[in-house]
Amino acid sequence: MELKFDNVCKNYGKKRALVDFSATLTEGVYALLGPNGAGKSTLMNMTADILRPTAGTITYNGESIYKLGDKFRAVLGFLPQSAGLYNSFSARSLLRYYGCLKGMDDKKAIEARIDELLELVNLTADASRKAGQYSGGMRQRLGIAVALLNDPKVLILDEPTAGLDPKERIRFRNIISKISFDRIVILATHIVSDVEYIAKDVLLLRQGQLIRDTDVSSLLAEMEGKVWDIKVLAAEVPSFMQKYKISNITKVSETEEEAEATNAENGLTALRVLSDERPSETATPVPASLEDVYLYYFGEVGI
């Protein structure tokens, strides 16, 4: 199974939303990371044939997905960034409708699948409530169930965890990691920790350009010696922020020695600094997380 992007471009008028995007995806989870407006949704909508590329081709097992048409749609599951659900349908009848729409005609099979999915996204108890009465997170989970309904080979999820509470995010992460071994999952998100442990590859997009396409461990390896922990006086924090990308700030509960070294009003603050060089004598290198990678590429000094 192979989904291949070949110099895919998309322009909205003069605006270049995606520039020469090339990548070859096989089974596994691909995390699409990038700031707002980077072109993630544009890429996903083109993969779902909602939009057509200005140039370039997208092929599935060697055939253009646009030529494949319904054959491709039969193996596709798509959760758009802002999916609309029919408010007057209950979750169950909504899933039945989408089952019909996705060409699942075996009544027993579809009912069983619906039960399974409702359980999976934890909506069994609310299955007969109208979608219009759902909370944001519940709607999102229902959207995920819809995307998974036809057991797709290519699963495209545009910010699937937006609005999910931490417990549901973990549940979602587990679902995806469980099912991803035999399908292509493309997942766009701003919550980097969602994909840190499940992504096979990370695609970093900036202003429509693919700037990195590699696996998580090599991304992390590259960051070796670029993430530092420093403890500084609270008064020094602003000057550090002016100079470096800071990925985290925490107040330190002081040890006795440190308390002696500083005076009481001026407590110590721990900074997680991203820098190619050691920012100060006292800085100690620490292992990077994917969030550090994100900030390293997309963060700005002084924020």
Partner: protein
């Protein structure tokens, strides 16, 4: 088939829409009950006309022709004698009783003459057409028929009832953001398109049947409509009709035509919905497409052939002043309507989801 059910569901589940349709139906009933009567036949006395028509009821026979000619002579002579009789009376040549009798007759003639003129006109129309009619025309009280048929116009409340329900068919998918999932599903394109069209037509059939049913029932009660079995050509307006239709057949074909026309409008609205994808644009476009030809007609009568506002009323069919009446514009209109609808439907289909992505 199942998709059709779901599409109907989507189309009709909205409660606000039901209320709107119900209100429109009430408006329609009120319009039927309270449209202003008469006015158009001011010089004709309805009851006198009716009495003449009842007297001559049926085909024109030699005997009836004689009666009509005699009545014409009687009325004209009585009227012509007025000044002469007056002079004679004042000159003492006739007595008061004779003059009184004459005056009674005169008043009667004065009252009847303008109305009889219409009867006589009709008689001459029958004579002039002679054998060229496909069936022999009949006398019957036709004033209400004329009024009824001429009063037909595109059913605005029905048009709106179609618009509020059908226009969102595709537009709501785009406004609610549901279209992305729809378009990325296997049956979300071709089949869904046709299911939506079918659902719109199912609704259009039901709501048109309701509106036209009410229209028919109330009008048949409101008007005096004898002569159901008389040939259509009995009414002068339809002298051009080449077929042997009875008033009854005509009545039903007019309603059938209006009904089909409304289905055509439903097709127009649903395709506009697929083409434009936005409610406001669809409403404006529909209103424009319906109103524009009527406005054109105001500029030059030639455009009346294009005016489906009037066409949809159904009255145009076979009317003698219509350019196509000779071949029966009813048939032509229907063929045209069907072809146009099919064209629109395929256009909408490919605009909704391009051809290479057939489903």
């Amino acid at each position: 088939m199942k998709l059709l059910g779901y599409e109907l569901n989507k189309l009709l589940l909205n409660r606000k829409m039901w209320i709107a349709v119900l209100l429109l139906f009430v408006v329609k009933i009120l319009l039927l009950l309270y449209t202003p009567g008469d006015g158009t036949y001011s010089q004709i006395n309805k009851s006198i006309y009716r009495r003449y028509m009842e007297q001559y009821q049926g085909e024109l026979t030699a005997e009836k022709a004689e009666q009509i000619e005699a009545e014409n002579t009687r009325l004209n002579e009585t009227l012509a004698l007025e000044s002469e009789m007056k002079e004679k009376y004042f000159a003492g040549e006739i007595d008061a009783d004779t003059y009184d009798a004459y005056q009674t007759e005169l008043y009667d003639a004065q009252a009847k003459q303008p109305t009889f003129e219409k009867v006589y006109e009709k008689y001459q129309y029958f004579l002039a057409q002679g054998d060229s009619f496909p069936a022999s025309p009949q006398f019957f009280y036709d004033l209400d028929w004329d009024k009824y048929l001429k009063g037909m116009f595109i059913d605005i409340p029905l048009l709106l009832a179609l618009l509020v329900v059908i226009a969102p068919a595709f537009a709501m998918e785009f406004s609610s953001g549901a279209f992305q999932i729809l378009l990325s599903s296997r049956r979300g394109r071709g089949r869904t398109y046709w299911a939506k069209v079918a659902a719109s037509l199912v609704y259009a059939v039901c709501v048109s049947a309701l509106f036209f049913g009410a229209d028919m029932l109330l009008n048949v009660q409101r008007y005096r409509l004898p002569g159901w079995d008389a040939p259509l050509q009995s009414i002068q307006t339809f002298s051009g009709c080449p077929y042997a239709l009875t008033m009854r057949t005509y009545f039903w074909s007019v309603y059938l035509y209006r009904f089909l026309f409304m289905l055509g409008i439903a097709v127009l609205i649903v395709t506009l919905s697929a083409l434009m994808k936005r409610m406001i644009a669809i409403c404006f476009a529909s209103a424009f497409l319906v109103m524009a030809p009527m406005a054109l007609q105001g500029i030059a009568p030639v455009f009346s052939d294009l005016s489906y506002g009037v066409q949809a009323g159904g009255f145009e069919a076979f009317a003698s002043y219509h350019t196509l009446s000779g071949v029966g514009n009813l048939v032509i209109s229907i063929v045209f309507l069907v072809l146009l609808s099919l064209l629109l439907l395929f256009w909408g289909r490919f605009s909704y989801a391009p051809a290479s992505q057939r489903g």
